[in-house]
Symmetry: C2
Amino acid sequence: MCASQNHNPGHRQAVLLINCYTSCLTHHFNFDMPRLFLLIIIVSTLIQPGFAQSPQADPQRLEHRIQTLSQFGANAEGGVDRVAYSQADLDGREYIIGLMRDAGLTVRIDAGGNIIGQRHGTDADAKPIMFGSHTDSVPGGGNYDGPVGVVTALEVIELLNDAAHTTRHPLQVIDFSNEEGGLVGSLALTGKLRASALDVVSHSGLTIYDGTKAIGGNLDNRNDDQIAPGDIEAFIELHIEQGAILDNSNTDIGVVQGIVGIGWWDVTLTGVANHAGTTPMNLRDDAMLAAAELTLAVNQAATSRPGGQVATVGRIQAFPGAPNVIPGRVEISLEIRDLEQAVIDAVYADIEQRAIEISELSGVAIEFAPIDVASHPAPIDPRMRDIIANAADQLGLSYQRMPSGAGHDAQDMVSIAPTGMIFVPSRGGLSHTPQEFTSTRDMANGANVLLHTILAIDQGALDQ
Amino acid sequence: MCASQNHNPGHRQAVLLINCYTSCLTHHFNFDMPRLFLLIIIVSTLIQPGFAQSPQADPQRLEHRIQTLSQFGANAEGGVDRVAYSQADLDGREYIIGLMRDAGLTVRIDAGGNIIGQRHGTDADAKPIMFGSHTDSVPGGGNYDGPVGVVTALEVIELLNDAAHTTRHPLQVIDFSNEEGGLVGSLALTGKLRASALDVVSHSGLTIYDGTKAIGGNLDNRNDDQIAPGDIEAFIELHIEQGAILDNSNTDIGVVQGIVGIGWWDVTLTGVANHAGTTPMNLRDDAMLAAAELTLAVNQAATSRPGGQVATVGRIQAFPGAPNVIPGRVEISLEIRDLEQAVIDAVYADIEQRAIEISELSGVAIEFAPIDVASHPAPIDPRMRDIIANAADQLGLSYQRMPSGAGHDAQDMVSIAPTGMIFVPSRGGLSHTPQEFTSTRDMANGANVLLHTILAIDQGALDQ
């Protein structure tokens, strides 16, 4: 019985734990896999006092690596300006490549500029399990969005190295290129990068094409260096939540149900500009007033139905924009996000209907122009959600199933492999700012969940 | 009896009409003046068929002068860029000076750069009656805002010249300097120009101090060249309405009740900027949403009470202003105008109260910073309103008593003399645009009302 093997001391515990999983799953029982997996967890949790001493992420190592990475592109506010293709980005990537090599990984940079570090497996026919995130930042960004996913992926390798355990599947740690500039690395890797994106000028001043070359990739070869559906066993991304749901509810782990789709529209409200002193209130076609009503309608459309959909007016401009002129034109942005396209469509339909009513009452014309950057929802494989949830359970960590409101490289990976996402808390939900913060403990919790998730997959949790 | 004198033909009619007023008022009756004046009007209207042939403004002359003036600073859109102190302004002023001299006026430029053309009176002790407006424009302005008041003032002189009639009071036609840049000429003339205004850079690129020198004034001498309270008998400004009240109601003349006071505030709404995808609707402190509610509250505060008060949000800026970021800060302008300061105060109090409620519900802080450019209401002397209304009546013109929603030089003159304002219609209420338009007929109607107003004052209508 596996349980008895777990009383040995030292780092051998990790090996034994892993061997326990493997032998249980492949030799001793004849159950179907999900039931078998569940049994393992129950047995492990209930009767193995030694489980709490299973391989644990090293908080100091994680924190040290996050702090080291924070020096590349450090800004005065305590965050980083490590935009893709900049010298700071190159320096950060060099650091990651060094850590990968030190951990014994075989490192290559693919056509899309992604850094991929491979650890061999025991089974020559097994497909790689890939995991990681990105290390580039937005301008004026923080130290956790992206890097936490890369250093925890490296931590998994370190723990396996410490345990001298070789998985059946090869493992691939990935540091995606230019995530913040439009998921460039994952789009290239999955064959979805549009030709039109190559000429887009990034924050570094380089085009995406030239920038990718500067970090060692070559987008001319992107068609020959893709991952096709079925090429890898699974992909897992650990990321900070960038929201306050986990922090507010004091929950350790977010099990991502899917990455929301995003609808974007430019909305133009056209009334009549006029003198704010000489035009009586009842003779106005005030575009600002109509914009205010529409902004409230946007909020109403998102909040008046159950579910996690969000709708936002983030940008506004009034013309001519003088205190003593009634605005004749107002332009606003509209963004709607949800896990289901049908919900995005329904919220938009509500807003459009209200716009018709507002227009009729105000005499202000309202036009919606859809913007091409919108993305469709990317649901996460239900098996992957359960594997992550079970891993959290195994470790005695609280977890919550939740959508990812932000876009991630994982959304591109969904199309080629079973994909999972693990969230760790963001203090106050702050992100894309130097105030971004995730505690050492939360990072270590995440690394442990990531390790257990990978081990479960390695041991066949997806093979039903 | 006066009435019988009005049957003579030709331009003598004017002289006789004028003599009739004079003799009636000063010799034949012993009534108090207002009653006497009213009697004259009734008698004139009812029993003098010749009144309709009293001196009439020459529509062609008015139109020709407006069109000529429109050439100085003409822009491609059919309007003018005749900003104060520019070459176009100098050219326009030179044209006005020429017309004044041709009409026999004695022309001087005062310390504030105002052009004043004087016509002598018969009574050496009588104080001047002053009337006029301005000829400078806003950038991208129209051809009527200001010029109509100057060419109709000159038309009054032409009609008196045609009639060879000399008034008892001296008459002063004034073309105020830099009205559009802050009522500079009338502030200087009435001793209210602040020292801090001198260094303000005008649209011409010159400071107000240097610009005034460029047009022949000298603000160093402004304290020695003022009009003190009681120095002039009256001031009258004719101006286009710049609103649509007269045009919409098909009314010939606006009798201005007062020039509205203006309250300006900068309003800052401070919430928390956050990720628009990862922040659930119920965890947002959305400054944009609070700004929308406040904008509606501003409208509500102005429209929920009887009266002509107006309140406007004309400027808005959201920070950071990206479609995918919940705005953490929104800045809006607030402007409230009314004839009574108490109403401005009450509307503001309503808005402030609503702001407190919005703030409590939304978690968004709202601060109001008053802006120094605000002006107090300038009520028009009730006697002047009645004199203008009676003049319109005499001429068989429809009129409406109304506020001036825009600022005018007349608001500065209120403090030193009985001041009246005559409005003529603006087509569609458009102003400060090349589309600005007032018909030849409306200008002629205005000139006639101005003439009759001046004659009534000359003949003692204010001497109660």
